[in-house]
Amino acid sequence: MIEVRSSTQRTRCLQRPNLPTVTAKMNGREAAAILVPSARRFLCGWRRGKEETAVLVALALLGAQAPAGAATRNLQPIAGSFVWRLAQAASESQPNTGAPTPRDDDKNKAEKAGVPATVVDGEQLESVLGIEALSSTGDNMGRIVDIIVDRSGQIRAAIIDFGGFLGVGSRKIAVDWRSLHFDPKKAGSVVVNLTKDQLRVAPVYKAAEPVVMIGGPDAKP
């Protein structure tokens, strides 16, 4: 059993005033039902601000609880683990953002009081793995197959599996995260602020080699 508690301080950071506030006891499956849409929205709203670390920590704590974690993975295998990893990294880098990170000495107290969690409207977050990357003119350029973060947990680039036919001849290209724009109206796709020609000539991404991330804040299509 996990107690999910949500405070105004933590929901505020999402800047959505009419979010539901829940204080309830629930089992893993119920928690998952709330967590999964939350995870979706988290990924969408990621760029809004760093105060969201609070949400991350809350999610991370819930993710660490076995029943909820298992249920979450069943429903959204990639999104769950992705959020968890980010949350870890973020909590390491910014320990003092007001998030209720339990310390060793008050661990027992925290367990008794329940685990904080935030409920976010399900349509505001989505998983990014496997979604289509479109050019600014609407051409399909491939799918996001991975996200790379730096040592501080900041998302740096999305790996797009570009081109090809039935999986033959595609090239994995690292595109700077700042070149990606998520249109709230178009779920399941992301617009890349670059043209097909700019993407296709980029060097292929390989793990553990110098990564060439194309695009950036000033990239012009």
């Binding site: 959204q76 295998p77 990639i78 999104a79 998983s127 793995l129 496997g130 799918r143 197959v145 991975d146 790996i159 599996d161 570009f162 081109g163 090809g164 036919f165 039935l166 999986g167 033959v168 001849g169 595609s170 090239r171 097909k196 020609d197 296709r200 000539v201 292929v204 390989k206």
Partner: protein, 437 residues
């Protein structure tokens, strides 16, 4: 084109040539192979079985990784599943051949394998969770190890060693038509409907495949012919059989040649397709699609011709042609820049493909004819093919990363030339004696 549909002329011609040929070699299989007369129903059914099976198997190709990506799989998991399948596909070859050798009914073995492929394809399409995908991939790879030898065994059991070259030509023709059409159909399906729909389309082709398989009349498949001359072969003695195969020198040489072929060939299309994606701005997808489908159509047209010429000219000239086309393709890929010309060069893949699709089972049938281990020999050569192919992708990937892709293509062309030299210098003609004069 008429014999492409009817399978008549080569079979009608052959008995007459056999009659005026040299005295028949002694041995029990001589009588059995002299006048097989499979019904038209069985022969047609085998055509369609091969056709629909190729449809299903195409669905299990590179497309699996695309499908799993859309199902939000990570690259690590996809890589793990593909590697597991490849490993099983490699180590399962020899046991697969042994199973077909030991089986009393090739048709039932094939039916079980097709059912396994169908079940795993549907499981993959319906619920892409790790356990199911992993086990279905392994099941499919294992079943494929049985299916390759089983098809050749059914063919040999049906038509005998006299009609086998024409029959293998038809098999190759229908198989490549099947996979060409499947690739085109799946591409259209993925584009207009969804990736999952494309996968279900491929999986559903198991039903007509099974139907066609059961149209083949089982009493027309001579088990002795299907096993390579001896009725009760390979029963519980696969290891001794394998050791006896190692004493057949032409088989070893041929396995080496085929491994060299795959070492040069396997990484060529993926690397060339990647170059097309790099160099063509607008039509890259169409170019890559054409490079996959068009060579299949070339195989479909050429392989009946290869089947006939293998009887008239012998196997060696065609094997030389096969390796020459491969080496030329590697050299062209190394020096051509224009993506359209790359695509045109890829058509040579159809020439090599047609030759090899007919010659691999044919030469194995030639050299393992009296041993009773035809299918085990197929498994052994299949294993050599797999080793060559897996080394090819690794080495070519490394060279193109470390240096550049023209260097990788040159290296593959070098392997092709090495294979050509091996065929030229070491490979004997394997066409049975009575056909030579």
């Amino acid at each position: 084109m008429s014999d492409f549909l009817g399978a008549g002329p080569p079979r009608r011609k052959l008995p007459s040539r056999a009659e005026k040929g040299s005295p028949a070699p002694p041995g029990p299989d001589r009588q059995r192979t002299s006048s097989p007369s499979p019904s038209l129903t069985s022969r047609r059914a085998l055509d369609w079985f091969v056709f629909f099976l190729a449809d299903v198997q195409t669905g299990f190709g590179a497309f699996v990784s695309v499908y799993l990506t859309t199902e939000k799989w990570t690259q690590t998991d996809i890589g793990l599943v593909l590697t597991a399948g490849a490993v099983v596909g490699l180590v399962g070859q020899i046991p697969g051949g042994a199973i077909v050798d030991a089986a009393r009914s090739e048709r039932w073995v094939a039916a079980a394998a097709v059912a396994a492929v169908g079940i795993s394809a549907f499981a993959l399409a319906m619920s892409p969770i790790f356990v199911i995908v992993f086990s279905s991939r392994i099941l499919q790879a294992g079943a494929s190890c049985v299916l390759g030898p089983a098809i050749a065994a059914i063919s040999l059991g049906l038509v005998g060693s006299k009609g086998i070259s024409a029959r293998l030509g038809r098999n190759a023709s229908f198989a490549s038509l099947g996979s060409g059409l499947a690739a085109a159909g799946m591409g259209a399906c993925a584009y207009y409907i969804s990736d999952r729909a494309a996968f279900i389309l491929a999986a559903s082709m198991t039903v007509p495949a099974l139907f066609a398989l059961f149209q083949i009349r089982t009493h027309e498949i001579d088990p002795a012919r299907a096993h390579g001359g001896v009725a009760k072969s390979g029963q519980g003695n696969a290891i001794a059989g394998l050791l006896s195969l190692f004493e057949i020198r032409p088989l070893l040489i041929f396995a080496g040649c085929v491994a060299l072929f795959q070492l040069a060939n396997a990484a060529m299309l993926p690397l060339a397709a990647s170059m097309m994606t790099l160099r063509s701005s607008k039509f890259a997808t169409i170019l890559v699609a054409t490079s996959i489908v068009a060579p299949q159509l070339v195989v479909a047209v050429l392989s009946p011709w290869v089947g006939r010429k293998a009887e008239l000219w012998g196997r060696r000239p065609l094997l030389v042609l096969c390796f020459a086309a491969l080496a030329v393709r590697g050299l062209l890929f190394a020096f051509l820049i224009n993506p359209y010309l790359l695509m045109a060069a890829q058509l040579l893949d159809g020439v090599s493909g047609a030759a090899l699709a007919v010659l691999v089972p044919l030469i194995i049938a030639d050299v393992s004819g009296k041993t009773g281990h035809f299918n085990l020999a197929q498994g052994a050569v299949g294993c050599a093919v797999g080793v060559g192919a897996s080394i090819s992708t690794t080495v070519a990937g490394y060279v193109s990363d470390r240096f550049d892709s023209p260097t990788a293509f040159l290296m593959m062309a070098g392997f092709g030339l090495l294979g050509l030299a091996a065929v030229w210098l070491a490979m004997p003609e394997t066409r049975p004696n009575e056909e030579r004069d």
